[in-house]
């Protein structure tokens, strides 16, 4: 690890006074109830390792992997210690030694890290998965998603997987035709689709474009866009995250857009902040480009309410709705009221849930590295949804949607899971 990075991580860790306040906010500590699985524990372990304390092995890697990077600890900490940044730093430093294969399953890491670098490979894998899903998986009965027909390695019994589309969103002729915006159009919006929508939940993409259309925006979907890089970064691959950021900036900057919109909370955080962070060591020209790009990025709920003055038709609709705050939207972008404002306009009756901003358990790669723990965290969320009594749970992140669908199915909660824009 570079000395300058090590120094900045050590300075961040040194801010921690070990008060323990973060423990009350952490989703992994909440279900595991052991000190090393708390933010304070992680900071202590990372600090010890940076200081060269010897003798830490598997348990260290396990605890660094457990963090969902949800950022809940940030608001609980009186000293403002950036624990997610420390965990990311620790994961990145792991890539340089022999521990990386155990930090993330090697295959998943290569696949995710290299996504934008070898899009053809990812497409091939996802297509093969689409073709084979009928062999290994069957309908869940609820009409949504697929469950395993028999026990599969890496998948887990009874796990609800989303049904993959036959054609990916970005490959559809109607979408690939939208590669530019007409000259002189007002509210020129570029749509950053993201992997979750492209490969798994294209209906969110459709709903996004529909809502933008009805608000008078002109929409382009640049074909050269690639993964936002968050999966790569979460697994410790900064280099891949950097290259993906550059390719995305290039794909959008030539269109002279007013806004760049995403319907994925995680992509939104990457586009607004992470691109700038990973490119902060580059030359002034690249940094300025990253800054200009970031200043145009809006979450779909933010764009519709704040910039485009979205108006609803106002008709009453069947079914009550509750809302789950994605960590990457609330804790990293500070967006909480906008999606609720849209839901109020959707025509559904709103019912709040307890702890709406508690992490769903998917993030930080936990879904890949520790499915069992990820589901234990999700169980609490499923119970909050159940207790709310709502028929529909809306959120604003494809990742959360995949997780909440699986959790509701697993824990017998009868609620439909959708993106906010799908209710407009």
């Amino acid at each position: 690890m570079k000395d300058s990075i090590k120094k900045s991580l050590l300075e961040e860790a040194a801010k921690c006074v070990r008060c323990g306040a973060c423990k009350s906010a952490c989703p992994t500590f909440d279900v595991l109830r052991r000190e090393p699985s708390s933010p304070r524990g992680r900071v202590s372990l990372i600090e010890a390792r940076l200081r060269g304390v010897e003798g830490m092995k598997d348990a260290y890697v396990k605890h660094i992997k457990e963090c969902t990077l949800c950022g809940s600890c940030l608001s609980a900490c009186p000293k403002g210690v950036n624990v997610p940044q420390l965990v990311l730093g620790a994961r990145c430093s792991q890539s340089e030694d022999e521990l990386i294969p155990s930090v993330f399953p090697l295959a998943a890491k290569n696949l995710l890290g290299a996504e934008g670098l070898a899009p053809a490979l990812v497409k091939t894998v996802m297509k093969a998965a689409g073709k084979l899903q009928g062999v290994f998986l069957k309908g869940a009965g609820s009409g949504e998603g697929l469950v395993t027909r028999f026990s599969l390695p890496f998948v887990g019994d009874g796990r609800l997987l989303p049904e993959l589309p036959e054609v990916f969103f970005l490959d559809r002729p109607d979408i690939s035709a939208m590669k530019d915006v007409k000259k002189g159009a007002t509210s020129r919006v570029g749509f950053f689709v993201g992997c979750g929508i492209n490969y798994i939940l294209p209906s969110i993409g459709e709903a996004t474009i529909k809502a933008l259309d009805s608000s008078g925006a002109t929409v382009a979907v640049p074909a050269e866009q690639v993964c936002c890089g968050m999966p790569a970064l979460s697994s410790g691959d900064v280099q891949a995250a950097k290259e993906l950021a550059l390719r995305n900036i290039e794909a959008f900057e030539k269109l002279e857009l007013d806004y760049i919109v995403t319907s994925c909370a995680t992509c939104g955080h990457a586009l607004k902040s992470v691109f700038k962070d990973v490119l902060s060591g580059e030359g002034i020209e690249i940094r300025q480009k990253a800054e200009a790009f970031a200043s145009k990025v809006r979450d779909i709920t933010e764009l519709l309410t704040k910039e485009l003055n979205y108006e609803a038709k106002g008709e009453r609709k069947e079914g009550t709705v509750t809302y789950h705050d994605p960590c990457h939207l609330k804790k990293y972008q500070g967006i909480t009221e906008e999606p609720r404002e849209l839901l109020a306009k959707s025509g559904h009756v709103f019912k709040g849930m307890k702890n709406p901003c508690k992490c769903c358990g998917l993030g930080g790669g936990l879904i890949f590295t520790n499915y069992e723990l990820s589901m234990k965290i999700a169980e609490k969320k499923a119970m909050s949804i159940k207790a709310s009594g709502a028929d529909i749970v809306a959120t604003a992140c494809p990742g959360c949607i995949i997780q909440l669908k699986d959790a509701c199915h697993r824990y017998g909660v009868d609620a439909k899971v959708v993106h906010v824009v799908e209710l407009l």
């Binding site: 006074v17 008060c19 423990k23 009350s24």
Partner: protein, 466 residues
């Protein structure tokens, strides 16, 4: 260091998987909120009184220290393994066994997080009042060991007032029951319950607590009153209580803290002191009390009065109180956090005395805390990078203790002695009193295996202060 025979015995006591020798666990169980780490030789995770008893019997047989640990949120070092040995974590003992709605009692294991008990009680219309600031991450076991207090003490008392009885494992391994499980009275023999509460994990390990609950108050109301000077604030606090109202909280904030917090949240404050007052009870009473408090405040030269009734307004007022700590952190990196207590009539003398100490020792002192019960959190703010500042801060701390004692108070109201205040207990306790205490310790823990190096002056305390 533990011998292989001792390790074998520990593994037999709690099971292989519940004894950890990993470096990772040693690091994570080496600290509490004092941030002064001492590495243990191993960490054990018992699940029952029998497990705990077996660990303590092994400790006596092989002569290693055992240090009980709950949430690790103490400020005085009570859960630190200052002489190495075994940290005994209560994290696996986290069940709320019963909430009895007929008798208004609860039976809980020591690892229960206090806020979780409060939530569960509230769901059933009941109330567990003790509310240390760490309520969301400290445990009942730790609260009992330290006799934790909190803002509500002015009306509701502290942890010891809610402990009806305990299942305790004595240092020798004997499992005893003290007090009653569901009875509000009981005078049979010595009151070992009260002896255990606040004994800082040196006389026994609580494996089950039988607690008293109250009915949940129907309504609550929070008010923030600001004053130009502390005399007006103190007079208001006295007048409120003299009028017959016992607020559920009566918090004092000094001018240094107010200025610091105002800068932190981007506003300005010219107030010299403020009171954060909360009343609870029947709706009509709360309404009447708040009108009376407003009147008393006006009579005592309050220049601002904010009354919160909605949840959001209450949250906003409390966010100010909660922002004090982080805002002080911006001023200086190290906070020597003391919690002296004085009779509440001496509040003004205490704050005026603190100003003098601050001047004399040339260190910044911010104070805030529980005006209602005279327990004030005195924060001596220092930067170790400035030559001599830490040392001057430690001198100031000693002055603060002397001041509190001269006003008829005590050197610690709720944080405990642990290792931080061990060198100072003789300032408050007579030699005979200390001898009586050490005699009790020796009688219960003849081999000195349970949480050694705490409360009484010894090596750890000296090391911490050097």
């Amino acid at each position: 260091m533990l011998t292989s025979a001792a390790i074998k015995e520990l593994k037999k006591a709690v099971g292989n998987e519940n004894v950890s020798f990993s470096k990772e666990d040693a690091i994570c169980y080496s600290y509490d909120a004092l941030a002064s780490p001492y590495l243990p030789d191993c960490v054990v995770f018992p699940v029952s009184a029998i497990d705990v008893s077996s660990v303590l019997k092994a400790a006596n047989r092989f002569g290693f220290p055992v240090v009980p640990r709950g949430g690790g949120s103490g400020f005085s070092g009570g859960s630190l393994p200052v002489e190495g040995g075994v940290v005994l974590s209560t994290e696996r003992m986290g069940r709320i066994v019963e909430i009895d709605k007929k008798n208004f009692t609860a039976e809980v294991e020591p690892g229960v997080i206090t806020a979780d008990l409060q939530d569960e009680a509230e769901r059933q219309g009941l109330f567990y009042p003790p509310d240390p600031t760490s309520v969301k991450f400290s445990t009942i076991g730790g609260n009992i060991a330290e006799c934790a207090g909190g803002p509500r003490a002015v009306k509701y008392g502290v942890t010891k007032d809610y402990v009806l009885g305990l299942e305790v494992v004595l240092p020798t391994g004997a499992i005893i029951l003290t007090g009653g499980k569901k009875t509000m009275k009981g005078v049979v023999g010595y009151d070992l319950t009260k002896l255990m509460v606040g004994s800082e994990g040196t006389l026994g390990i609580v494996t089950k607590a039988y607690l008293k609950l109250l009915p949940l108050p129907e309504a609550r109301r929070t008010m923030l009153v600001e004053f130009l000077d502390i005399e007006s604030a103190a007079r208001t606090a006295e007048a409120i209580i003299a009028s017959g109202i016992i607020p559920s909280m009566l918090e004092f904030i000094d001018g240094v803290s107010l200025k610091s917090v105002a800068e932190y949240i981007g506003t300005q404050s010219s107030a010299g002191a403020a009171l954060l007052v909360e009343t609870d009870g029947r709706k009509e009473c709360v309404e009447k009390d708040s009108i009376e408090i407003k009147k008393i405040s006006a009579e005592n030269k309050a220049y601002s009065f904010k009354d919160a009734s909605t949840k959001n307004e209450v949250r906003d007022l409390w966010s100010l109180r909660r922002a004090i700590s982080p805002s002080l952190n911006k001023l200086k990196p190290t906070k020597l956090n003391e919690d002296v207590v004085v009779p509440r009539s001496e509040l003004v003398s205490l704050v005026r005395g603190l100003e003098k100490i601050s001047e004399k020792r040339n260190v910044l002192i911010a104070s805030f805390g529980h005006a209602g019960d005279g327990n004030i959190h005195v924060n001596v703010m220092v930067d170790k990078k400035n030559a001599g500042e830490f040392e001057r801060g430690m001198e100031a701390v000693k002055d603060v203790f002397a001041l509190a004692l001269s006003l008829g108070g005590a050197i610690s109201g709720e944080h405990g002695i642990g290792i931080t205040k061990a060198p100072y207990i003789a300032m408050e306790l007579s030699a005979d009193a200390i001898e009586a205490m050490t005699a009790i310790k020796k009688a219960l823990d003849p081999n000195g295996i349970l949480n050694p190096g705490k409360i009484f002056p010894g090596r750890a305390g000296l090391k911490f202060h050097s």
